[in-house]
Symmetry: C2
Subunit: 308 residues, 2 copies
């Protein structure tokens, strides 16, 4: 697997599939904003505008793309784009709340001012909290249309990652960790919660939505958890090596805040190697159950090779 992980170019078919899925997810998010925010447009136009700003402002759609690739790999044949969109709504909510003045207090996200800088903290808070039930509704509606899917499990897994069983714990540990030096194990716990929980569940949901076996679902969850941690290590690395312009968010923040990161604890090269080893591990787990498709392999490489 280590050799495969060094491949730097991607197959054209794979790139085309990923690009198509990204566009489909963007379209699905636009449609559901049109459909599901109409009553909010009348009652609370600022909140509706902040939700649109946060959902429709681009982004890699990494989690949605990962879900769709896992769904295909696990044998799913229906159009699962709306469920990918639901996962992206959870991600977008977490960004809005992470950036709030009472949390990370950040100014720049995806190359634009953060939601609270545009709409104010109250509207951004309410917009974020409104996106969680929007994600749950969207996931329930989408899962109900997928043959073989365990629809209630889809909702439970996504909402567990979005809440007490996932992102929230990681985010709060992260905020507390800013004030003190962390050991590597503590940092890993934070990263596994803050980023890993949703990335892992995106891959896992591919299996649950396709009605796959528990062995397949378990391998997808392991692959997703490894990718999620590698993704966050790559984020730490990019915070050192990237520019604000390329990242679309403030670079060099970790060092300015003297935050413990993988590069600060291990050095840049060892951090990069750790990310690559994780990704290779995750791919090996998928390979063992026969689910390592070219798309899932390319996504894994992207995680450690991306520049933004």
């Amino acid at each position: 697997m280590a050799e495969r992980a060094t491949i730097g170019t991607y197959d054209a078919t794979v790139v085309a599939e990923i690009d198509t899925n990204r566009r489909r997810i963007d379209d699905a998010l636009a449609s559901l904003c049109h459909r599901d925010l109409s009553s909010l447009d009348n009652c609370a136009p600022d909140v509706a505008a902040a939700i649109r700003y946060s959902l429709l402002g681009g982004g890699k759609r990494f989690r949605g793309i990962l879900f769709l690739a896992a769904y295909r790999a696990a044998g799913g044949i229906a159009d699962a784009t709306d469920l990918a969109a639901a996962i992206e709504i959870v991600h977008a909510y977490s960004l809005v709340h992470d950036d709030l003045p009472c949390m990370d207090n950040d100014d720049l996200r995806r190359g634009r001012p953060t939601a609270h800088r545009v709409f104010g903290a109250r509207t951004a808070t309410v917009a974020g909290v409104t996106m969680v039930p929007l994600a749950a509704r969207t996931a329930a509606r989408a899962a109900a249309t997928l043959p073989g899917a365990n629809a209630t499990r889809v909702v439970q897994e996504l909402m567990s990652a979005a809440g007490a069983g996932g992102m929230i714990g990681g985010q709060m540990l992260d905020l507390e960790g800013e004030a003190k030096p962390l050991a590597l194990a503590e940092l890993e716990l934070i990263h596994r919660g803050k980023t890993g929980a949703l990335v892992s569940v995106a891959a896992l949901l591919g299996g649950v939505a396709a009605g796959a076996s528990e062995a397949a679902i378990g391998a997808l969850a392991k692959y997703g958890a490894d990718l999620g941690l590698a993704f966050q290590i790559a984020d730490d690395v990019l915070d050192v090596t990237g520019t604000s312009e390329a990242l679309g968010k403030t670079a060099g923040r970790d060092a300015a805040l003297r935050k413990s990161t993988y590069p600060s604890l291990l050095g840049l090269e060892a951090a990069q190697r750790r990310a690559e080893a994780l990704v290779a591990d995750g791919c090996a787990a998928l390979d063992r159950v026969g689910l390592l498709t070219p798309v899932l392999e390319s996504i894994a490489h992207f995680v450690v090779r991306r520049s933004s």
Copy 2:
């Protein structure tokens, strides 16, 4: 119906059933806090404590009790207490966020300091937003166990009421309305969103969870919407006639804030009559489809006769 609505005493069997259901809902909330907050206890103990404080601090459990009565009336025979608990989690989340400094900035709730007074605004905000996915998970898990239930619709309806399709719009209109005099129609729109959406969905979900006909579900939704508006009018009346001690929250706040209310627009007696007429209307809608059980009738009377 007008005559029935003036009955001031309740049948002992009905009172016993309601009390039993209230205790069951309290027990279910305690169990799920024990089960679903364990990982949060490790990562973010303050947030977990704030969630417990908000979920386990008593309360009338009106929405959960209403749901259970509607479920029975619609023919449901399984134990649906966990779904009642999910509805109460949504209600508790809305109270935590309504009380925040950036919203109503209130100090007292259910006879105790509000969550942000005890835990601070950041922790209370995060606790509130964590309760939404907790409610969605709980609803999905519970609905999956109920024979005949349309489980994905249960999640969609509850999350619609919790978000863009319900409470959020009402709350934001309410905040804007504080600054200006409102017409009765505007006030009704606010109340129907802020309180009515969740009360209505509690009744409606009784039908959906029991696999009832669309006619039955529609009648339950109408009854719930009428009770929800009557409940909020009664709240306005109690803000004038009640004490902080009896209410468990600050009395006289509406007048202090010069908020438009049903009593301020119609006078106390006419407001009370409007609440009673709504409740009679809702009961009549249920009666027409044969769903007006003694418990649902008693709950309707309680809405306009309660002292807290």
